[in-house]
């Protein structure tokens, strides 16, 4: 390995966006790196660096190309256009305006590449067909939008040729008329920054004197570190610092306080291929990368286990020490509500099935990144791509044993998370340590491969389900046993194991319910929380089983759901309180809209239609750690009380002195889902002013009050409630001022349309800004604060009762239509019809965007996504070439609808959509495939190969005259007693031990 040869630099002239740059490059530098690192044109993104994701697309002489696969030194004499050069004279290009208005943007990380590709398309073909749009954008992956809004934007670009503001968004419906700003499909507040490349993601920041860090991962799946020799790496010119396990605090960290089991860098044991062993800081990333190759690690390999089945065997190697982890079981759950044995006795038909899920990985388009430096006050400043700034903040304080007040976390624009950025990463911790040692800012960015090795994707679940029903389809009992493949560390796993069981009874009345869950350690990257946290696979399996049962007992699959569907104001068997619930309405709507009656059971072979349902929490009822917001080691253990100790959402509204602008401070994390937009809308609504006057600041823990983050679909409801409270506090201060001027009682006044007016007498009013100015002149700063604590007493009194609790639950139903090539097993998706109960949609366009994205992601999880491991636990496909994400060409036609619903606990009646929208999808696809082919595939992903194999097996049996064994059991002969549903109640406190408590 050679050091960088200075003589290999040469000067080249690049013409970018019409400007000439003279830049010194080496021959191996890509155009992407030169644009980003040397010209600081960071609108062009690095998502995979291997030419698959398309986030780096630029125009070269007008043609879109992947700048990560172009050598910069070959670009002399060619005209390069980046996203920064698409707008002309400060005016957005019509395509950019179309993206803004048509809901084509979420996290925004793919947006520059998409727009560049789209612009090139319309330059050569101003009237592209859907097919031409899909082909032109086939090299641009998007993980958020499901491509639906993007196709719409490109198709309708001409509507936006005229001046700003012209053109109506198309294809967006469901606007709610009850409010002024809430319920409207307004464009995202960050849209313009995202279409122009100005939005700054963590890796786009640059600081003076900054170093670049990389982390070395283990090459063995399980072993003891015998020796690490870093001398060669340290000797490499440009390397500034190398750290190993001995240089990091002897403090374990993680997510669930009861299971902190990770070290920043391995102290002595490595537990999977990729487990962090050492880290390097160097003058540039390339040098840091080379240094990793010079670190010599000697391992003493230990036996390794890769499946739960191997891991729980007696005598299997132990991945973690400690009595509690006997048989490598990281978490075990045994929940029994009602009496399943009696429930099965009461059943007329019982069916048992086994299902297996897949290891899927979130793959947000933006790779994780962190930049750390310690400022003049010796405070740690951390820029990080995260969904949970507060938990990162908390964990840094925990690991470094410093108060939260000595740390400032900044969350720049985040390019998607889906649960993959819901915890503190080794990047955050290593960057802080390397910066501490070197005294310089340190930037660390994961490669796509690193992301896969960091893991935290979906747990692969092995599920054995048993369902009992009456002849009329009424569910009498459900029994499930699930083994979750957890990987080498806990991450969110304790919660995942509980979620896998707790959410099943929220959708249907299940009087007798048992769930046994075992999360098992294996020598693979840790699994964590992925959109729908623990629930999508059991939900897929349950929905499949319900459909099998419906077909067997001769009831329509939608009818059996209607029969058992959850009702509002119900306490489920596991003590979850359902308030608003329009599940039945969603079923009814998808039935009508999809033409279900005409299609189900009546389609030709090879064509299929299927249904799935699902729902999720609107924010977890309890925080991940309990007690107070302070250093964990300073806290004394307290017994669990069934209420939030501190508020989960907090907001502050400050009115500018001229009354013309309002700044909303809230720590809620915008990760692409639209948090900043819906929170701003709610702020404007509650204040009674136009949205244009609200500016949100949510990126900095120093300036915004704490919010627990974007996980468990909590922001709209919890953050929203805090915003509404803070905004109303401001209005409450303004009304007396206005009342004085208008000579009436404050109670007669409301704030609306930028005015303070008397209800029923709008002529009598005072300008809102004027009232604010008067307030400032008389009383000083006009500020309101608000907070939200989930209701006290949520959940039952059994162990693990906290998981699954929420102030509100969403519900949804999806119908999938597809065709299957019976000779190859290939699936062609045709149409999705989806209706959701998300309460009041704060921004219907954003709701549809979540649904469209969830459908495409959910289909991908059902039919193609899978992290594949070799026999040593190494990932075979840690890249976007072989880990298959749906492309724009795979996208079905999607109809997303919203049913009328109002959640009393939510702001303006709102609840969640982000995660619940994923849940119906997997089951609907699996059902449609079974409906098209006559074979059920019980193992995800449902690949063409598995379908063909099952079809051939079926044909072989038919030819051999072999009858398929009946899979269900009819309990004939017994008198079927008239079935009366008893009020579903959870079993009483058997064990009051708390989920997150220390004993």
């Amino acid at each position: 390995m050679k050091s960088l040869d200075e003589s290999r630099y040469g000067n080249i002239t690049l013409s970018v966006n019409g400007r000439i740059y003279n830049v010194s490059v080496r021959d191996n530098e890509t155009l992407l790196d030169v644009l980003r690192d040397k010209l600081r044109l960071t609108g062009t993104k690095k998502g995979c660096d291997l030419g698959v994701c398309g986030a780096c697309t630029v125009l070269v002489d007008g043609e879109p190309m992947n700048s990560c696969l172009l050598l910069a030194s070959m670009m002399q004499g060619r005209e390069i256009t980046t996203i920064e050069g698409i707008a002309e004279d400060g005016r957005l290009h019509p395509v950019q305006r179309a993206f803004v208005r048509e809901g084509a943007i979420q996290c925004g990380f793919c947006t520059p590449g998409m727009i560049v590709s789209a612009k090139a398309l319309i330059d050569r073909n101003p009237d592209p067909s859907d097919e031409e749009i899909k082909d032109a954008l086939s090299g641009n992956l998007c993980r958020c939008t499901g491509y639906t809004g993007i196709i719409r934007a490109v198709k309708n670009w001409k509507k936006y040729v005229k001046a700003e503001g012209a053109g109506k968004n198309t294809g967006v419906q469901d606007d709610v008329k009850r409010y002024e700003t809430v319920g409207r499909s307004v464009p995202r507040v960050d849209a313009v920054n995202k279409v122009t490349g100005k939005a700054m993601y963590t890796a786009d920041y640059h600081f003076q004197n900054m170093l670049h860090g990389r982390i070395l991962g283990s090459t063995v799946p399980h072993g003891k570190i015998k020796r690490i020799d870093t001398s060669k790496a340290e000797a490499l010119p440009g390397v500034v610092c190398v750290i190993t396990g001995k240089d990091v605090p002897d403090v374990k960290y993680g997510v669930s306080p009861a299971r902190y089991d990770e070290h920043v860098l391995a102290k002595d044991t490595v537990r999977y291929i990729g487990d962090e062993v050492a880290a390097v800081a160097a003058v540039d990333e390339e040098t840091a990368d080379r240094a990793l190759g010079l670190i010599d690690v000697a391992y003493e390999e230990l036996p390794a286990v890769f499946t739960p089945k191997e891991a729980i065997k007696e005598g299997a190697v132990r991945i973690h020490e400690g009595k509690r982890f006997r048989n490598n079981i990281n978490t075990s759950v045994d929940h029994h509500f009602g009496d399943v044995e009696r429930g099965f006795e009461e059943a007329d038909y019982i069916r048992e099935e086994t299902f297996v899920g897949n290891h899927t990985y979130q793959n947000p388009m933006e790779p994780h990144a962190a930049i750390a430096y310690w400022d003049q006050h010796d405070r740690l400043n951390l820029y990080t791509a995260t969904q949970v700034p507060h938990y990162v903040h908390y964990m840094l304080a925990h690991v470094f044993k410093i108060p939260l007040g000595r740390i400032k976390v900044i969350r720049p624009t985040v390019g998607g998370g889906f649960g993959g950025k819901a915890e503190t990463t080794p990047l955050d911790l290593c960057a802080a340590i390397l910066s501490r040692i070197t005294g310089r800012p340190v930037k660390m960015v994961y490669t796509r491969k690193d992301m896969f090795h960091h893991g935290r994707g979906r747990h692969k679940q092995h599920m054995k389900f048993r369902l009992g029903v009456k002849k009329d389809g009424t569910i009498t009992a459900f029994d499930s046993t699930i083994h979750l493949d957890g990987g080498a560390y806990t991450s969110f796993g304790v919660v995942t194991a509980y979620y896998a069981g707790s959410m099943i009874p929220t959708l249907y009345h299940i009087p007798n319910y048992r769930y046994r869950g075992y999360r098992v350690y294996t020598n693979k990257p840790a699994c964590g929380a992925f959109r729908g946290h623990g629930v999508p696979q059991p939900r897929f399996a349950f929905e499949c089983l319900l459909n099998m049962v419906a077909d067997e007992i001769g009831i329509d699959p939608i009818a059996i759901r209607m029969k058992n569907a959850m009702d509002r104001n119900t306490r489920t068997c596991n003590d979850l309180d359902i308030r608003s619930c329009e599940f039945k309405a969603t079923l009814e709507e998808v039935r009508k809209k999809s033409g279900w009656k005409k299609k189900y059971g009546k389609l030709p072979s090879g064509k299929g239609i299927g249904i799935g349902a699902g729902g999720f929490v609107s924010g977890a009822g309890y925080a991940i750690y309990r007690g107070e917001v302070r250093m964990s080691h300073e806290k004394t253990p307290k017994t669990f009380v069934k209420k939030a100790v501190f508020p989960h959402g907090n907001a502050m509204v400050k009115v500018l002195e001229d009354g013309m602008a309002v700044v909303l401070f809230i720590g809620a994390a915008e990760i692409g889902q639209g948090a900043e937009t819906v929170l701003s809308q709610m702020c404007a609504e509650a204040l009674g002013i136009p949205l244009e006057r609200v500016y949100i600041r949510a990126e900095d823990t120093d300036i915004s009050p704490v919010d627990l983050g974007a996980y468990s679909s909590r922001v709209t409801l919890m953050g929203g409630n805090a915003v509404v409270m803070a905004s109303r506090a401001v209005v409450k201060k303004l009304l007396p001022i206005a009342a004085e001027t208008l000579q009436c009682k404050p109670s007669e006044l409301i704030a609306k349309d930028g005015k303070i007016l008397r209800e029923g007498d709008p002529g009598k009013n005072l300008d809102w800004a004027e009232a604010a100015r008067i307030y400032f002149n008389e009383k000083g700063p006009l500020v309101g604060t608000g907070f939200y604590k989930p209701p006290a007493g949520l959940g039952g009194d059994y162990k693990g009762a906290a998981v699954g609790t929420s102030p509100a639950y969403s519900f949804g139903s999806s119908v999938c239509e597809l065709s299957v090539d019976l000779e190859t097993g290939k699936i062609s998706l045709e149409r999705f019809t989806d209706y959701h109960d998300c309460g009041t949609p704060i921004n219907p366009m954003a709701v549809h965007g979540q649904v469209e994205g969830a459908i495409v992601m959910g289909v991908g999880e059902t039919v193609m996504e899978d992290v594949v491991y070799d026999e040593r636990g190494g990932i075979v496909n840690p890249n976007l070439h072989e880990y298959l994400l749906m492309t724009i060409k795979d996208t079905p036609e999607i109809f997303s609808g919203i049913v009328d619903s109002y959640e009393p606990e939510g702001p303006f009646g709102a609840k969640e959509i982000g995660e619940g929208s994923t849940l119906p999808v997997l089951g609907a696809v699996a059902h449609a495939i079974a409906n098209a082919t006559g074979v059920w595939i019980r193992e995800l992903p449902i690949t063409p190969e598995k379908i063909l194999k099952a079809l051939k097996e079926k044909e072989r049996m038919r030819r051999g005259g072999i009858q398929e064994k009946p899979r269900g059991l009819w309990q004939e002969g017994k008198p079927s007693p008239p079935y009366k549903r008893k009020p579903a109640r959870g079993k009483k406190a058997v064990d009051p031990k708390k989920l997150f408590g220390k004993k």
Partner: protein, 339 residues
């Protein structure tokens, strides 16, 4: 992830390029589009490379030319340029289909047609097309050129007959004889940016061509380009034509004839493109029909030598080959009939 420290050379002539390859031997690589090479270098799949010899400043490699008997594609012609080329569109709709199934639009703006052959990856989409179309590789060492059939050029995974100091400068495709149809069917796991799990190309030339009888077909050198000849290994071509022509006379009176000549080639099911010779022999002289194609497909299946990998098992690939062969023959037939 970075490209190793390399030095880029941009010679102006083939001779200079070959001289550089000569000088740097096995620490150098030829660079055209680079969409495979740079990915391989970044991922460390290829190591020890210190010099890249770019072809982009060499004249005469950037065009698609129509010579009398053939289409000649230069090493710098990108996939999108090829698929937008009128001559190619006119003669080879199958090549347009093939290109449309490859990678994604942005990659096709950079990746070259020649690169897909020169790279010799086992899942090359264009290789089976070139094989069935009778394509030839034109190699140059800076002083002289030589030509060989594409099927002889690709020796194995990333291994070709290209000499150490030679460059694959052009690909040639003979214009198809009348009543000839070519088709490519690919099976992939998503609709864009996906490698073939299996792919089959087929060419059918029907007897009873417009000129009357098999003679016109026989007069054309289907297997070679403008008489340059291959490097051998396909001595049967002439015979096939002859027998095809003979049998065509037994065809139906209205000009619809049996299969005079055919070629079936598969990709992603062996280390290199495989010609299903037995299936082709079976088809010779047969009246095309669903049954005949089904039988041919079953025979073709036996020529595949697939392995199990992340995209599919060996068994599945065998099944795919059979289905794809049947479909590609059907499409080739309808193209041969001008439908």
């Amino acid at each position: 992830m970075h490209i190793p420290d390399i030095r880029l050379h941009e010679p102006r002539t083939i001779a200079e390029a070959c001289e550089l390859l000569n000088r740097y031997c096995d620490i150098s690589k030829v660079l055209a589009g680079g969409t495979d090479l740079l990915v391989d270098l970044k991922q460390g799949r290829i190591t020890g490379i210190e010099h890249l010899v770019s072809l982009r400043n060499i004249d005469g490699l950037e065009s698609v030319e129509e010579t009398g008997e053939a289409i000649r594609v230069g090493a710098l012609v990108t996939l999108n340029q090829a698929s937008g080329n009128e001559t190619i569109r006119k003669f080879f709709p199958a090549m347009i289909d093939t290109i449309g199934s490859m990678a994604a639009y942005t990659i096709r703006n950079v990746a070259t047609v020649v690169g897909n052959i020169a790279g010799a990856v086992p899942s090359s989409d264009l290789a089976p097309f070139f094989v069935v179309a009778g394509g030839e590789a034109e190699l140059s060492n800076g002083e002289s050129q030589r030509r060989m059939k594409v099927e002889d050029y690709i020796l194995g995974p990333r291994e070709t007959a290209c000499g150490e100091y030679e460059i694959l400068t052009h690909l040639l495709i003979p214009k198809p004889p009348p009543r000839t149809g070519i088709s490519y069917q690919k099976f992939m796991l998503r609709e864009a940016n996906a490698l073939a799990v299996a792919g089959v190309a087929a060419r059918l030339t029907l007897a009873g061509s417009i000129g009357g009888g098999g003679g016109a077909g026989g007069g054309r050198d289907v297997g070679g380009v403008g008489g340059t000849g291959g490097t051998g290994g396909d001595g049967g071509t002439g015979d096939k034509r002859g027998t095809g022509g003979d049998r065509s006379t037994r065809g139906t009176g209205d000009g619809e004839g049996g299969i005079m000549d055919s070629c079936i080639a598969m990709t992603a099911v062996a280390p290199r493109p495989v010609i299903a010779r037995e299936a082709c022999a079976f088809l010779e002289g047969k009246e095309p029909s669903k049954e005949v194609f089904r039988e041919a497909a079953a025979i073709a299946r036996e020529s595949a030598r697939p392995i199990t990998d992340i995209r599919g098992t060996k068994e599945y690939r065998f099944d795919l080959i059979e289905v794809l062969t049947e479909r590609t023959l059907e499409e080739a037939l309808s193209r041969a009939r001008g439908e």
